[in-house]
């Protein structure tokens, strides 16, 4: 599979995750989000950027439980809970936000 962003064709896997992490740009994130029916707000970007930082540091996409805890630590308990994160990313904060962030699917996600 592939997506088109700004005239460029970017390769994705069968579930829509970018194959090459280096292909990611903010425009790519917006295009993936649009295809997922997610309207990117500042709160969405906060999570997406957090995931990219996490991946840079640890070389994995975190499991949802770990993401929730880490967000809580960094952004406060109002944001570090499943309800808040599922409202932003209805198909799963780890799975869907990782896709928009251009990361692989979290380890252990099916």
């Amino acid at each position: 599979m592939a997506i088109e962003v700004g005239g460029k064709t970017l390769e994705t896997d069968e579930e829509g995750y970018l194959v090459n992490l280096a292909d990611w740009t903010e425009d790519v994130a917006n295009a993936i989000a649009k295809a997922e029916n997610v309207d990117m707000s500042g709160n969405h970007w906060e999570v997406v950027n957090f995931l990219r930082e996490y991946y840079n540091e640890y070389q994995i996409a975190p499991a949802v439980r770990v993401l929730t805890k880490a967000i809580g630590k960094k952004l406060g308990p109002d944001k570090g809970n499943s309800k808040y994160l599922y409202e932003l990313f209805p198909y799963g904060p780890a799975k869907q936000a990782c896709k928009i962030a251009g990361l692989p699917k979290p380890t252990g996600c099916v």
């Binding site: 540091e57 994995i60 499991a63 770990v66 805890k69």
Partner: protein, 133 residues
């Protein structure tokens, strides 16, 4: 039913078992170290009592400053630092294996408990499940 499936059933019933993952191989050259780490990360979701043991060439998995560009594989060593966030904090390293390779604990990426072979054997005997990679 396989042993693993029975363990999952026990977990569903709220039973906490002691799992030890034993890492014996160098990080690159075979897939064992990476696969073992992935299994550990996945199993963290089951809220069991998990520990990791590093011995033989497995101690190299934890060494700081790994450079993998030349062999064109991903350097996954930073992922060991994520274990704490997964509440996996029992990392045991066998003293004899470290010493045989001229390594010390301060050359490792993460805080570990260094222990002699006899102590590690004792910890292994306490486990319900030991899985070796």
């Amino acid at each position: 039913m396989t042993e693993a499936a029975m363990d999952l059933e026990a977990e569903a019933a709220g039973v906490v078992k002691k799992f030890m993952y034993v890492n014996r191989k160098a990080p690159y050259g075979t897939i064992y170290a990476l696969e073992g780490l992935e299994v550990v990360l996945i199993s963290a979701a089951f809220d069991q009592d998990v520990s990791l043991a590093f011995l033989d060439d497995g101690v190299y998995q934890l060494v700081k400053g790994q450079q993998t560009k030349g062999i064109e594989v991903k350097n996954f060593s930073p992922t060991y630092r994520a274990l704490e966030g997964y509440d996996i904090e029992k990392l045991y390293v066998e003293r004899e294996s470290l010493e045989a390779r001229g390594l010390t604990a301060d050359q490792l990426l993460v805080p570990v408990e260094v222990m002699g072979r006899d102590e590690l054997v004792r910890r292994m005997e306490e486990q319900d499940v030991v899985i070796a990679f």
